[in-house]
Amino acid sequence: QTVLRVAGNFPEEHSATGAMNVFKEEVERLSGGDLVVQNFPAMQLGGAQENVDQMRSGAIFAVFTSIAYFTRSVPELEAVSLPFLFDSREKAFEVMDGPVGKLMDKALLEQGFVNLGYGELGFRHVTNSVRPLTRLEDFQGLKIRLQPNEVHLETFRALGANPQSLDISELYSALQQKVLDGEENPYNIIYTRRFFEVQKYLSDTGHFFDFINVVANKDAFDALSPENQEAVRSAMRSAIEWQRAEAARVDLEFREKLVAEGMQFDEIPAEERARLREATTSIAESLKERVDPEVIDLVLEQAAQ
C-alpha cells in the first residue's frame, strides 16, 4: 500500500475540494486499494504557496491549486493569464487540452512537476462601489485591489485604473471603509468572501480566466508502478471532468446569488469588450521580455481560432 497525501487550499464547499474526493474514490478503486489517498483540503497543511513548497520537496504527493502559484517557476504559464484572452470557458479548455497544454506540461516537468490536469477557477470580474462599469472610460482612476502579479497590475494600469496590492484578509474592511473602490475575483469568491455587502456594482468583465491545476512531485510520481501511474492519471481525468462541469454549473448560480443580495449587475457590450482588449494588447508584447515569444504567439493564435 502506498499513501498519497494531497493538499488543497480551496474551502470545503468549493468544486476543487469536491474533485479531491472524486480523485480519492477513483484512484482507490482503480488501484484495487493499492493506493490510498489522504486529502487535506481547506488549507489544513498551510496556504497555497506552502502546499506548493511541500509538494516540490516531496513532503506531499500532489497539490490542487491555481496555476498562479507556478508562474514564478514556469513563466510560460503567464501566457494563458493574458487579459481578455478567452471568450468562453469552452475556448479556454480547448486551448489547454491542445498543444498549448502539452507545452505547459513539458515546461512544468522540466522543473520537477508532473501536471495531472487543468480545472476551472473561473473568469475574474470587477466589483466596485463607485459606478457601473460598462465602458473603458469607467475604469479611469478606480482604486482596485489586485493580486501581486505583474500582468494583472499592468493590465489595470493600461485600462486607466489605479491598481493596489493588499492581502486578501484585509480586503473586506478596506472596501467597507472605501479605502479602495473595488476588487476582482470569480463570482464564487466574491460571494463566499461576502464582498457583496460592501460593493454595489458588478460587471462581467471576465478580464482573466484562471485555471486550477493539479501537480504531483515528479520523483514521487515516477516511483509508482506503471499501472498505478495510469490509475492516478485516469482518476484525475475523472476528477477534472467532474470539476469542470460542477464549476460551470455553479458559476451563474453565484452571479444570481450576488444579484439577489442586492448588487447591480451590468454586462459589458461586445464592442466595449473589444476596446478593453485593444487597450491591453501591449501587455502581451511586454510579457515577451520574460516569456518565450513563440509560446505567447502560439497561445494568442490558438485562442483566436
Partner: protein, 183 residues
C-alpha cells in the same frame, strides 16, 4: 534560562572556550547590524505604503512582499540573540529543586537538545532553500529562496550559542548577556 535578571560574572573562560566566546560575540555584533537594517527597512516600507495610498493615491507593488521578507529576516536573525539573553521562557520549577551540580548538568543537556534541533533545522532549511532556488518572488525578479536563508542563518547562529552554553555552562555570558555590541 527563564530568569534573565540575575546575571553574574561568567567563569573565567580560557583557551578554546574563550576563543569560541569571542567568535560568537563578533558574530552577534555583525548580526545586530543586519537586524537593525532589516527592521528599519520593514518599518520604512510599511510607512511609505500608507503614505502612497493616502497622500499620493498610488501603490508600491512590491511593498507588501518586501516588508514581509524583511520581517522574516528580522525575526529569524534575532532568535539567537534571544537565546544569548535567555529570554526564551521555560519551566524552571523542577530545576530549582535540584542541587547546583545537577542544575548545571540539566541546563547543559537542554542546550544540547536545542543544538540537535537547530542542526535539524539547518540541514532541512538548506534543502528547502535549494528546492525553491528556481522560483522567483511574485513581484520581484529575485529568487524566492531568500525567504529560507534567514532560517538557515538562524539555525547555525543559534547552534553556536547553544554549543557555547553546552560547553561553558549557562553562565558563560555573565553580565555580558545583555550587552549589545561586541567587546
Amino acid at each position: 534560562m527563564s530568569d534573565p535578571g540575575h546575571p553574574s560574572p561568567g567563569p573565567a573562560a580560557a583557551g578554546t572556550l574563550a576563543m569560541l566566546r569571542r567568535a560568537v560575540d563578533l558574530t552577534d555584533a555583525l548580526s545586530r547590524w543586519l537586524i537593525v537594517a532589516a527592521m528599519a527597512a520593514m518599518t520604512l516600507l510599511i510607512s511609505a505604503q500608507v503614505f502612497h495610498r493616502y497622500v499620493l493615491s498610488s501603490s508600491i507593488d512590491a511593498a507588501d512582499e518586501l516588508s514581509r521578507l524583511f520581517f522574516v529576516w528580522s525575526i529569524f536573525l534575532a532568535i539567537p540573540h534571544g537565546i544569548r539573553r535567555g529570554v526564551h521562557v521555560g519551566i524552571d520549577i523542577v530545576l530549582r529543586l535540584m542541587p547546583g551540580q545537577a542544575q548545571d548538568l540539566l541546563q547543559r543537556a537542554s542546550a544540547l537538545a536545542g543544538l540537535l534541533l537547530m542542526a535539524v533545522v539547518f540541514v532541512t532549511a538548506l534543502g528547502a532553500a535549494a528546492d525553491k532556488w528556481g522560483e522567483l518572488m511574485p513581484t520581484l525578479p529575485v529568487t524566492a529562496a531568500l525567504y529560507y536563508i534567514p532560517v538557515c542563518i538562524c539555525a547555525l547562529h543559534s547552534a553556536l550559542h547553544l554549543l557555547l552554553f553546552a560547553l561553558g555552562g549557562p553562565e558563560i555570558w555573565g553580565d555580558d548577556a545583555w550587552k549589545e555590541t561586541a567587546s
